[in-house]
């Protein structure tokens, strides 16, 4: 995410950090680099100007330049200011105390409103809310069909009246139904419109007046350039939106829209959409995003992801097994499945602190196929073999290889690596430090086992 910006900022800051003392001209030079990095990332030029001015003022403060570690102070300030720029503390939706909470979605054509509606519905449904969707895009062909399909997939009810009625009436009708059916949330999908189209902007403001939404969300394509500001300003007049959904953040957007929108409109980014699947949608946390941009990782999000997937009891069981040396290939398989449930490994790597700085891992694409292969091999073993890999002799290896569509070498590798891991676990469990040589051997892949292969793009 925001790789280019991230690289440039990190390079500048690591230069600053490497200096024992900072002079005013050092700070000036760093500010210049930061300004260029932000401009190249499509951040609005006015925002860049005021951002770097604030930064500079704070960095030149005496407590920074005279501190023992001025470079570190500068990094801290940049982190804080980036967080503030993106909205400070993360905020949630305003939910109604009674009756359905109404959320109105607005945006340009193709910014991803309909998809965002479904993703938001799923997100809210996950926390036990009864969600309904109102199909008020009567202009784009098949937009209603699309909402019906993705809405059902998201587990939400979709209220639609075809494309003949006025969107304002459809919205009002949908709200009545949501009240009757006691829904917790009603999300109103609207047609994409250009901010210069007065007629449609007027329609949007009529829908807003009719259904009196608790939250109006503007969906913004993360790849939008300098124009993002003009769009946001126009929409903030007609729709008076309360927050932003940043879509298509999984591309290689440079971050301009995400970094400018709060400063220009005063409205924070509430949600980020990061993939093709419905579950690729989450709350946006400015502080976590800032530390990701600066290569400090996002351990909090990683932990949250893990907590969602990992069952605590299972984890305790596993710990016990490791300690008592009863860890089997079956457990290994379960572990692998749990980790994979958290999403593609390359995504998880991006959340680890310092990963951005590791050049080999840059653009690394973890080959999920390798993991599929390991899974296939274990699944081709009998329960006895999984529990006691010592059983696996030559003829069994042959059978497992042909059963899993792999080669005998692959089976050998897996068994060998599993054996090494078990030895290591035993050492750790018995309180001994693992033999460093053995560790190095494993890491360098001697007697190589099928470990995830890194492939450079």
């Amino acid at each position: 995410m925001f790789d280019q910006l991230s690289d440039r900022l990190q390079a500048t800051l690591s230069d600053v950090r490497s200096r024992g003392k900072l002079s005013e001209s050092d700070v000036d030079a760093a500010m210049r680099e930061i300004r260029l990095a932000l401009l190249e990332a499509d951040v609005n030029f006015k925002v860049v100007k005021s951002f770097t001015a604030t930064l500079k003022e704070r960095c030149l403060g005496s407590e920074v330049l005279e501190s023992l570690d001025p470079g570190q102070q500068v990094v801290k300030i940049v982190n804080e200011e980036l967080t503030t720029l993106m909205g400070g503390a993360s905020r949630d939706l305003a939910l109604a105390s009674s009756g359905p909470t109404v959320i109105l979605m607005a945006g340009l054509q193709g910014s991803g409103k309909t998809t965002a509606c479904a993703k938001l519905a799923r997100h809210l449904g996950e926390s036990g809310k009864q969600v309904a969707l109102a199909a008020c895009d009567v202009y784009r062909p098949a937009a209603v069909d699309q909402l019906v399909t993705v809405g059902e997939r998201a587990g939400a009810t979709v209220y639609e009246q075809g494309t003949e009625r006025d969107p304002v009436d459809i919205a009002a009708w949908a709200l009545d139904r949501a009240r009757e059916e006691n829904r917790d949330v009603l999300i109103v999908d609207t047609a994409g419109r250009l901010h210069v189209d007065e007629e449609l902007m007027d329609e949007l403001s009529r829908i807003r007046k009719k259904v009196k939404p608790h939250d109006v969300l503007l969906v913004v394509d993360a790849m939008t350039g300098q124009d993002a500001v003009g769009v946001a300003e126009a929409f903030s007049e007609a729709a008076e939106f309360d927050g932003v959904v940043m879509s298509k953040l999984d591309g290689d957007a440079r971050g301009g829209a995400a970094l400018s929108v709060k400063a220009v409109t005063g409205k924070p980014i509430l949600f980020a959409s990061t993939g093709e699947k419905l579950e690729d949608f989450d709350r946006f946390h400015p502080d976590r995003m800032a530390s990701r941009i600066l290569g400090m990782g996002d351990v909090l999000s990683l932990i949250e992801k893990a907590e969602k997937q990992v069952d605590e009891k299972q984890a305790l069981d596993l710990q016990e097994k490791l300690r008592s040396d009863r860890f089997t290939l079956e457990d290994f398989l379960q572990q692998m499945k749990q980790v994979r449930k958290m999403g593609p490994l390359s995504g998880l790597l991006g959340m680890m602190p310092g990963m951005g700085a590791m050049k080999q891992l840059k653009n690394a694409d973890v080959d999920e196929g390798e993991l599929d292969r390991v899974e296939a091999i274990i699944l081709s073993m009998t329960p006895e073999e999984r529990a006691n890999p010592g059983l696996i002799n030559g003829s069994r290896r042959k059978r497992i290889a042909s059963g899993s569509g792999t080669k005998v070498q692959h089976v050998n590798q897996l068994v060998k690596q599993f054996d090494q891991v078990r030895k290591l676990m035993r050492q750790v469990a018995s309180g001994k430090m693992p033999d460093p040589q053995q560790l190095a051997q494993m890491a360098s892949g001697e007697g190589r086992a099928p470990r995830p292969k890194m492939r450079r793009r």
Binding site: Y139, R153, V196, D227, G230, V231
Partner: protein, 236 residues
Amino acid sequence: MPADGAAVHDRLIEIVAEVAATGRAPIDLSAQPAVVLMVGVNGTGKTTTIGKVAWHLSQEFGLSVVLGAADTYRAAAAEQLAEWAQRAGADLVRAESGADPGSVAFDAVAAARARDADVAIIDTAGRLHTQGNLMDELAKVRRVIAKQMPGAPHETLLTIDATTGQNGLRQAKVFAEAADVDGVVLTKLDGTAKGGIVLAIASELGIPVKLIGTGESLEDLRPFDPTDFARALLGE
């Protein structure tokens, strides 16, 4: 000699127009049927553009058009294209949702040949250029089309949203690598966005803009005029 402000401005427009005109050629529809493949990032306006192109070709030039709904991924994408096909009076080839896009493209081209149509336009699912496997899929769709009709697709058009920032260059580069893009359709030019990124695309990649989309209605599709574009970009 003191430079005259207006003259400088005019010269500037000329220079920008020259860059924007890099590698320009009309859309080649000489083959029978001419196969046009439409590619681009999600939400840039592929399906809408196809609808408009089909309408112009059939209503204004009297050509027979077959549309191929190879976006089998997004919900209701085929229905959207069906609506456009009906408005334009074009034939539609589609498959159930989730079908292999390559096979739909193949069938569409085959149908166009069998019906002796003038043009076949293939819609594809929007994809972010960062998703390697989806870009590979696009390359495959191209190969499959070429298998059905050697030399096809004759024209591969990339839709770029005029509001896109610097990222547009990257989009063009990656799509060009995967799908051999012949030209750009600059969409949503009716907002305040000026689409300046196509200058970078033309000068660095040599891919010209062929069409511009300026609105919602069928007529709002025009050939690209470098001079008009330069004027709009620099202001009168």
